[in-house]
Symmetry: C2
Subunit: 513 residues, 2 copies
């Protein structure tokens, strides 16, 4: 058994049985070894940003890591923007980064680069396997590290991969989350009330955490928000509803007005997404005390349950009633397209949300839709939506995936459409074509940039030439249609949901700005 075979066998035995891949020559033994381990599924993507974004979507929905296969440093850098998002999401991922043979590293061959520098940038766990016999053990430890909610980079030199003497290793138990002590629960219980906000972050925006937080809110009057960009939030009819903190600093300051105690649960104290001249970066109100109920890596849901039991023993959570917008009519607008989605969102949907400015009204329009999950742009590195939809669909083949995708962001990783077609994934992409980097039009004003004229505005414009996303999608094998009215969008959305496999609907929604 060679190193690659022992690696794949170990991954499978550790519960990792999907590998998103964009291989090159140095990974050929890994590719060949896929046939020796039938349980491992290889999923080809045409660009590494799709590979890593798919692994992110998969990990968020499967609650376990996928593997990726990346080609040396240059392949890895192509995947790093979506690894940045995955790091912010605390998604477990095991990256297998093929590298030159150890015997070849010193010759500065054309593709040689400093992979260690890249490992540092992605944070998390990293190791270079230097011994074929240890590859299995390295892989098992990588999986355990990833399961703690981080990116694990396993660098696999080609000669370690092709060498004989590979030994599969058994699963390594991941570190259990630490239990929060009673004193912390009691202390936080003492600050709850009408001028306190609980901020739910990683591990706290799933059903268990939401129910506990809702009980606490109902019993004590404490307000509850979710962080601005949750990795995964469960919502809809039958679950407690929770608002997210806004994207703009002004929104957050308004949401936190008068708050004297802020309780963090798997979240960080809110900061502005960007800096603006003369405006604050920290958004916690002055004089507000900040408390931590549980950090990521601690047992967040358990801490919320215990806090709820302490202050709301007899209180039930407040659940969202089913309530959908009426199906709208007329030319598409930023409001009515959201209402179409809210009116028709199917039970159990997974929304990959990179609608950006076009999606401003989606949370309200879908609040009372049947229960669903939403995966958001955790790290701000655009080009996440389509790949995350790929991964979510592979993690949950029985659930409909709805990708709400803005035009500008789509173009960073557009080849994800091809993988959707190749794998026949049940993803309905609603591509919001507003012909602009609309968010930057907002920001250009907000940063107070003076003197902006035609050249500046041209760099925010996507209408010269207009993109035809129907043609682009069809060119990658995804059936596609265009909607200009709410009626067309509703009809096309229903049809896409009813048919298996991927579809794209280009929705011509005018820019908000």
């Amino acid at each position: 058994m060679n190193g690659a075979q022992s690696l794949i066998r170990t991954l499978v035995d550790s519960g990792v049985d999907v590998c998103f891949a964009n291989p090159g020559t140095s990974e050929m033994h890994f590719v060949a070894a896929l046939d020796s381990v039938p349980e491992m599924r290889g999923v080809l993507a045409l660009f590494e940003g799709v590979v890593t974004g798919a692994a992110d979507g998969y990990g968020r929905m499967a609650d376990k890591p996928a593997a990726t296969l990346l080609h040396l440093g240059p392949g890895m850098v192509n995947g790093m923007a979506n690894l940045h998002n995955a790091r912010r999401a605390r998604t477990p991922i095991v990256n297998v980064i093929g590298d030159h043979a150890l015997t070849h590293k010193g010759f500065d061959a054309p593709l040689e680069s400093d992979v260690d520098a890249l490992n540092g940038w992605t944070h998390g766990w990293s190791r270079t396997s230097t011994d074929t016999a240890a590859v299995g053990k390295d892989a098992a430890e990588a999986v355990a590290a990833a399961r703690a909610g981080q990116i694990a980079n396993l660098v696999l030199p080609a000669d370690v991969s092709w060498g004989d003497g590979g030994e599969p290793a058994g699963e390594v138990a991941p570190a259990a989350p630490a239990t929060v002590d009673d004193a912390r629960i009691t202390g936080i219980a003492g600050v709850l009330g009408g001028s306190t906000v609980i901020l739910l972050g990683k591990g706290a925006t799933r059903e268990r955490g939401l129910r506990a937080a809702s009980r606490i809110a109902a019993a004590t009057g404490t307000k509850v928000f979710a962080e601005t960009f949750p990795a995964r939030i469960e919502r809809g009819a039958g679950l407690p509803a929770v608002d997210r903190l806004g994207y703009l600093a002004e929104q957050v300051q308004w949401q936190l007005t008068g708050v004297t105690n802020l309780v963090l649960v798997g979240a960080k104290a809110p900061v502005s997404f960007f800096a603006y001249p003369g405006k604050a970066s920290e958004l916690t109100p002055e004089g507000c005390a900040v408390h931590t109920l549980a950090e990521f890596g601690e047992d967040v849901a358990d801490a919320l349950d215990r806090l709820a039991d302490a202050v709301a023993a007899d209180t039930e959570p407040v659940l969202q009633a089913e309530s959908r917008p009426a199906l709208p009519t007329g030319d598409l607008t930023p409001q009515n397209w959201a209402d179409v989605i809210g009116a028709l969102l199917p039970e159990g949907a997974i929304i990959s949300d990179e609608a950006n400015t076009s999606g401003l009204l989606i949370p309200a329009a879908t609040a009372g839709a049947p229960r669903h999950d939403v995966l958001t742009l955790t790290g701000g590195a655009i080009g996440q939506g389509l790949p995350v939809a790929v991964g979510a669909a592979i993690a949950c083949p029985d659930r409909p995936v709805v990708c709400l995708q803005s035009d500008g962001s789509a173009m960073y990783t557009i080849s994800a459409l091809w993988t959707m077609a190749r794998e026949n994934l049940d993803v309905t992409t609603v591509l919001l074509n507003n012909r602009a980097y609309a968010i930057l039009r907002v920001e250009l004003t907000r940063v107070g940039a003076e003197g902006a004229g035609p050249k500046a505005n041209s760099l925010l414009d996507l209408s010269t030439p207009d993109m035809d996303f129907v043609a682009i999608a069809q060119g990658m094998g995804v059936p596609a249609t265009r909607a200009r009215t709410a009626e067309e969008l509703a009809e096309q959305f229903q049809r896409a949901l009813a048919e298996p496999g991927p579809h794209l609907i280009e929705a011509m929604v005018p820019s908000l700005v």
Copy 2:
């Protein structure tokens, strides 16, 4: 004047007047400042790999740097694969990397990342501007550093960009290349002859170097090769012809059989692109002495001229006669498509060559075509061809650009087509669709990977689903047609060349393997 305005003014005054950009919020003051400096041209791309690849193509053809504008660490990583190629090409580039405001850096906002780690990976020159008054000086030094043939990364925090007190700086003279001393010339002159090879690298594959090398070869019997992947090689009728070293180690070993002296001119001693079990990485024959006439950074062309004057004072270079293949007929093949290009390549063309396996026969078919330049995949990070074509077309608006692009590689940076349409660039892309990562089929065999079966082969296959590059190109605003026969390709190629603006021809060329 703010920092951004002083930066752009300094760039222009230092001769840098094109900026390839994919901006975000932290770059809004830079974007706004474009309107205050009319001489600076901003060129929008939809993905940072297009931005940096275009800067590479521009620098290779303009012999001076373009600027880029990249959005924080995640934007920078998206551009780094093509910066890797640019580093190998020794292309001058000035990257302006917008970063969070200095006052905002400590808050670990969602897009925060370690830009210094990325600076290390790209090598070259790097600096973070921390003082608005010094931005101009920093920029002038960045341009000077880039002009020495490297990547210069200038990190511009948002508050340094928007701060008042910017001071444009005058041009800083770049370091002049060192002159090679006479002793080295004399020493090399003593080893020339029939068992010696001169290997031409950076700075030596332009007309001046080629003419000198040809004179030396004619007078002494020395063989001359160009390195495998030149950044820019001038060739065609009226110039000395020179073969490139092969891509496969076996080819190089054959080319260097019996060679006892290897003379490097702006090149490194050849190493295998990848390692293979049981095969050598170093390709210089055993016992062959390696000499360096001039390194990159020394005056390579001057050294060649002086060596030619020393050994070939009365010898003229041997020039390639005009000679084109006949226009072929029949279904497209790996041979006949190359003959179509050779038969019809226009005078003064710039070829951006990422045809990979499909392009194996292009060098022979175009050897006697009218004089042209070829830009090759210097660093092996695929996704270079289309962006480099963008940059070359902007550097040389009066010359036809021909992009020979394989299908798999095209998909990494496919949105370059949109920038071609937006800027109405005279680029004719011949997209070789062989429906496979054909190079990896070759390599899977060469690395001796055993046990490869359907799963492995599936990861090298691009036919499920087939991509329709005509639709994809049209969706991005580029007129496109499909050719299945040599006659169709010839007709479409001639028509595309005759019309202004970009065109794409999808050539259905079967895979070599």
